[in-house]
Symmetry: C2
Subunit: 396 residues, 2 copies
């Protein structure tokens, strides 16, 4: 099978490397050789071992020999237009582009189905961790109740540094940048946008209807302080950035925010740049998928896994699908009850039956509350004249 | 699609329940209804909601309408003969029968392939945890280096009780039996046979050639004492029963034995009846799959996942396969170097560069050694006149 790669950045060059260096073992697995015919990139790579670069997308689109295209350009433009044209031309597309899948997945999956080809994106969530296919195949005997994921390695590294080494957010971020775990502009990671897109993809897949990433309530980790981390730790919790989705009677909840995870929950032990995705199925209960959620070769290996799967099923659409959702399908988190961690000054006096657990250091107090809506909690604190320095949800 | 269930025990009745109660959502997923036409069992179930029982296997074999059979009888006889006949009659077979897959998988997969049907066994390892399909599909872009698994819930529950509650092996086993986590005759679990079969299946799948479960060196947990657990804990390790397989230059290593797991390894946090399977791929590094490894509904949900997958691909063999191995393919563990935990009496004096870490309680000493073969370790201890009370390998 002849394929093309669009975008020769980190993931694209990883895909090239794996396919080139493992041609034999891949051919053995699918009884067919997989050969890279074009690599599309506007840049020049005179020193590359590959000699099949092009700057013209039409070379790929119009070549009937190319049956599968790897889109690892990132961003929505021109990736969106290109992908539409490729699928319409009955070429399979494999991508790691979570932004595009989150934004235009519904339409692209539909076009793929109409043309009996596949649009696959295992690499878009959790890097090399198998999650998309297990969710739709292996767990198909279950109804999915909820998914809770540590989906972003950068923020998890920063939080781990804060928890284990007592570094402040700014120090930890700087360290992450120095180690290549965070970009110069870390906004997409630390503000939760990356986690949000992955959450949208998981929610859409798990529950069968589109969850629009732009409508998911999203909070990053920039406001988390060392005090939060230390008091939470004393109370028996780790703080992690969680992408959450949950089926309810009339729709789904989805949210991205820092959450307190009890130490006996497997998610609390996921440190550094590792990701973990906990899926709750109606019959299987909790299952978790763990591994490196990013990086050139882990992500590229997931792309290659999709390529191999398509070579095995090249004549049909394998049925990865979700549809448009009705108005109001994504429910309002304000109506959802939760327990909370609340940090207040030692000068504030507080008592009441809603306090489940309480711990203090020299200057501050950390509380765990009973379950209620966030509005009710805030009203109650206001009534008591207490100024909350932090309010962080507990994972259920 | 009309299907049959052979064996109406724990898993079989779970499969029946899921298919009956979720008929609509299953039909939606595969655009086709799945209907149980026969249930084969020698016992009578007059109170069952199912009215399609038969005691005659030929009813199923000779009914052309039945395209898929769920074999959850357990044991190798008559499951082996029945499965062969069904596959030869071009009926797909889904099973949770690890004993049969471990013993006759090579032949049954070959018959399935020759007849363009599928023999699937996701439920045979890790109950409801997705592992078989992720291993052969999602991770197909990797060469698998090794797999280390906590594959048996009963023994993990017993070890957790020993570690967390200070119960002796016998007390913990009794508790497990009272809670329904261990059978009256716990031999297959506590002696490691169950873990051994699952290890054979994983090793055969991951490396493509049959690893005979009867040739895998297997040691259970019956010799583990509270002293081992306590000293290991002080040294920073948990003791877990591990099924291990690893690719080497000229073949594979496979082994089942209790091992010391460092506290920062995710496997050490897997407690109670939960299972965890850590797979190391050439590009993705370590990925782990975690969840309930047994139980009626978790296991049944994995069987139903396989059924759904087959309905989606009913006209072809999807290529789950391994072949016979050459003589000597399974390598001798005696040649493999390891670090060890050694427990000795405080009366024994011991020193030497091979001791990496050492800790003592009132009457005994726990050591961690450098890497060497087990033969070398035993020779050395003999030379020094030291009597080892326990020798337990460290996980790499």
């Amino acid at each position: 099978m002849k394929i093309a790669i669009m975008g020769f950045g980190v993931v694209g060059s990883g895909v090239g490397e794996i396919i080139k260096n493992n041609a034999e073992s891949i051919a053995e697995k699918v009884s067919e050789s997989v050969e890279i015919k074009y690599i599309l990139d506007l840049r020049d790579f005179p020193d590359s071992e590959f000699k099949c670069f092009t700057k013209d997308f039409n070379d790929i689109l119009n070549d009937d020999e190319v049956k599968l295209v790897v889109e690892v350009m990132g961003g929505t433009n021109p990736a969106y237009t290109f992908t539409k044209q490729l699928l319409s031309a009955k070429k399979h597309v494999v991508t790691s582009n979570k932004e595009l899948v989150a934004k235009h997945g519904t339409e692209l999956l539909e076009i793929a189905k109409a043309n009996s080809v596949n649009y696959m994106f295992e690499a878009s969530v959790g890097g090399g961790i198998p999650i998309i296919r297990p969710l739709i195949n292996c767990l198909a005997g279950n109804e999915i109740n909820n998914i809770k994921g540590i989906l972003n390695g950068t923020t998890n590294y920063i939080l781990t540094q804060m928890i284990s080494c007592g570094k402040s957010f700014d120090e930890a971020l700087k360290g992450a940048q120095e180690n290549g775990y965070a970009e110069k502009d870390p906004t997409a990671d630390v503000e939760g946008h990356d986690t949000c897109r992955k959450t949208a993809i998981l929610a859409s897949l798990a529950f069968g209807k589109e969850v629009d990433s732009e409508k998911i309530q999203t909070e990053g980790i920039t406001k988390i302080t060392l005090s939060d981390v230390a008091l939470a730790n004393k109370l028996g919790y780790s703080i992690k950035l969680i992408g959450l989705c949950e089926k309810a009677e009339n729709g789904v909840y989805a949210e991205v925010c820092p959450m307190l995870i009890p130490k006996d929950n497997m998610l609390s032990g996921i440190d550094d740049v590792f990701n973990g995705i906990m899926v709750n199925g109606s019959f299987v209960g909790d299952v978790m998928f763990y591994g490196r959620g990013a990086g050139m070769l882990p992500t590229a290996s997931a792309v290659v896994g999709d390529i191999i799967d398509i070579v095995r099923h090249k004549d049909k659409n394998v049925g990865i699908m979700w549809t448009k959702a009705e108005e109001g399908y994504l429910l309002d988190n304000a109506e959802r009850k939760n327990s909370y961690f609340v940090r207040i000054s030692s000068n504030d006096e507080i008592s009441g039956e809603f306090i489940v657990k309480k711990i203090a250091n020299d200057t501050e107090i950390g509380l765990i509350t009973s379950e209620m809506t966030e509005t009710k909690l805030k009203d109650m604190l206001k009534e008591k004249g207490v100024n909350a320095l932090s309010i962080i949800k507990l994972v259920k």
